[in-house]
């Protein structure tokens, strides 16, 4: 008879763990106060030591070389050098902000919140993701600036010869490959959307066919899209195959870390490695011409 009475765990309502809590005053308020104080002091010291720049008065007739956007937009300006302007300046940032905002609707798992990294492989994914973003972006920039070909030639004596010249940078694919003439002007739309116009369209009315410059389209849009969408996909797929990426959270970790790496490099290169004419130079070689006529 006694065996019929089996101890069962009793379902209790989970009490709020009061002993795990501290009072906001003083424990949090003081932390906030001290951090605010530290920042105030640091910024005052900085403001006393370093003056905000003020150059000559604005003059539309004198263009400094290089002209640069504010530093937090230099990532976009850098991107602009490598592809179609509308894509680099507007479409990609807009899409990316949309993707960013959609993160929590993609990863709906409540587990792992409120903890740094939070999944077993998260640190590894973060480190490698940002490294791939960092190194990949550097490599692509070096390639597209022609420096990679230059280094290979200069340091290792490797010369692709004329047959491989089209691999020197992205635009060489357009200029060095013998594209048939018809491919640079393919009529595709009976009205002018001003989306993808080749030079031949300039000044044509809205009833004209729009012409697609196929090599330009490949170089300005398809190759960059291939890299920007393809490389993250390949990276996440490889991490998935390696067993690192197991959840949607892991996939987002890889994607976001890759973005941080790439974004950091783009901002850095745009800020410190782009000299006159947006040439890729070392930071210590970077000079800005004030653009005063006759003194350039």
């Amino acid at each position: 008879m006694a065996t019929a009475v089996v101890a069962r765990p009793v379902a209790r309502p989970q009490a709020r763990a009061r002993d795990e809590e501290v009072l906001v005053w003083p424990d949090l308020v003081f932390v906030e106060f001290i951090s605010a104080l530290l920042f105030t002091i640091t910024l005052f010291v900085l403001a006393l030591l370093v003056n905000a720049p003020l150059l000559d008065e604005a003059n539309a007739d004198v263009t400094p070389n290089p002209s640069k956007a504010p530093w937090y937009l230099l990532n976009l300006q850098e991107l602009l050098l490598h592809m179609n302007a509308a894509m680099a300046g507007v479409i990609i940032p807009t899409i990316w902000l949309g993707v960013l905002a959609a993160f929590p609707y993609f990863d709906r798992e409540t587990q792992g919140q409120g903890k740094w990294f939070g999944t077993p492989q998260a640190v590894k994914i973060t480190a490698w993701g940002s490294l791939v973003g960092f190194a990949g972006t550097w490599l692509l920039i070096l390639w597209d600036s022609g420096k990679l070909a230059f280094f290979l030639n200069d340091w290792f004596g490797w010369s692709g010869g004329d047959r491989l010249r089209f691999l020197e940078n992205v635009r060489a694919i357009q200029s060095q490959v013998p594209w048939p003439t018809w491919s640079t002007s393919i009529p595709y739309l009976p009205f002018n959307l001003k989306l993808l116009s080749s030079d031949a369209d300039a000044g044509q009315g809205p009833t004209q066919f729009q012409h697609l410059n196929f090599p330009g389209w490949i170089v300005e849009q398809q190759i960059p899209i291939m890299f920007m969408v393809g490389l993250p996909c390949v990276m996440i797929f490889l991490m998935y195959k390696a067993g690192w990426v197991q959840t949607r959270r892991d996939a987002l970790l890889a994607l976001f870390s890759g973005f941080i790496g790439a974004y950091g490099v783009l901002t850095l290169v745009g800020t410190a490695f782009r000299g006159a004419g947006q040439e890729l130079v070392f930071p210590w070689e970077l000079t800005v011409s004030e653009g005063i006529p006759g003194q350039e």
Binding site: R18, E20, E21, V22, L23, V24, P26, D27, L28, V29, V31, E32, S35, A36, F39, A47, L48, N51, A52, P53, L54, L55, D56, E57, A58, N59, A60, V62, S67, K68, A69, P70, Y72, L73, L76, Q77, A85, A86, G89, V90, L100, A101, F103, P104, D107, R108, E109, T110, Q111, G112, Q113, G114, F117, T126, L193, K194, L195, L252, F256, G291
Partner: protein, 250 residues
């Protein structure tokens, strides 16, 4: 046996009493000095600024490495920028004829003018960096997960507003740096398909950076965008509380 008498209040005690235990003071501050748990909770609950916080918080959340105070510091930068910005507005007129001269005037003739301008600029840079780092912190601690999805979206909006606030302020000194940075920046916006040229024209009030652009950027910078940011910040902070405070392991 002598009965122990309470010590007679000394002068300091009397002054303290007169200052903090009178009718007027108590009409402003309902609670006594927060030196008991009861008063400490009351002071947070009854003060309009402190009541953004709950009265109690999980002990893991006061660890500095949990948040690095990044969100709070972003807000603090916003407040500091508002104060220094108002001071700069006293001396700055957003017209092409005066803007640059006013900048020079602020730097040379106005008491602490250079300091205010420096603070405003470095705080603006700090805010952009802090907001970005805050986003990284929230992502890497998984704090965007349910039920905080929408607050993450509000955060993305605030990130964009921070960039726009900084960008619109960049033109105001009306020097070569400002002029060409905004020219490059608005050219980027102008390259958008279909809407690009129109939105660039709308932003600049013309085909190139000029007097109309300056007044537009100024208006957006000092009232339009800060108002918008304040609204979104209100939603952001409100939602933190509604969604159960800072995220922590379930």
């Amino acid at each position: 046996m002598a009965v122990e008498q309470p010590a007679r209040p000394n002068l300091a005690d009397k002054i303290y009493d007169k200052m903090f235990h009178n009718y007027v003071w108590k009409s402003i501050f309902r609670t006594g000095y927060p030196n008991t748990p009861r008063n400490q909770m009351l002071v947070v609950a009854t003060n309009v600024f402190l009541h953004l916080h709950p009265t109690r918080i999980h002990r893991t959340h006061v660890k500095i490495t949990h948040t690095y105070c990044l969100g709070g510091l972003s807000f603090f930068m916003f407040l500091g920028l508002t104060i220094t910005g108002i001071l700069l507005m006293f001396y700055y007129v957003p017209s092409v004829d005066r803007a640059y001269l006013d900048m020079q005037n602020i730097q040379t003739n106005v008491q602490f003018g250079q300091l205010m301008r420096n603070l405003h600029r470095w705080m603006a840079h700090a805010m952009v960096i802090l907001v970005f780092l805050h986003m990284m912190r929230v992502f890497y601690t998984g704090a965007y997960k349910p039920p905080r999805e929408f607050n993450w979206v509000v955060g993305v909006v605030l990130l964009v507003l921070t960039f726009l606030l900084s960008f619109t302020g960049y033109l105001l000194p009306w020097d070569q740096l400002a002029f060409w940075a905004i020219t490059v920046g608005t050219n980027i916006a102008g390259s958008a398909p279909v809407l690009g040229p129109k939105s660039r024209f709308w932003l600049l009030g013309g085909l190139q950076v000029g007097p109309d652009a300056l007044i537009r950027f100024y208006t957006l910078h000092v009232i339009g965008l800060p108002l918008l940011a304040a609204i979104f910040m209100a939603i952001h902070f409100w939602r933190i509380r509604r969604d159960g405070g800072l995220a922590r392991p379930l």
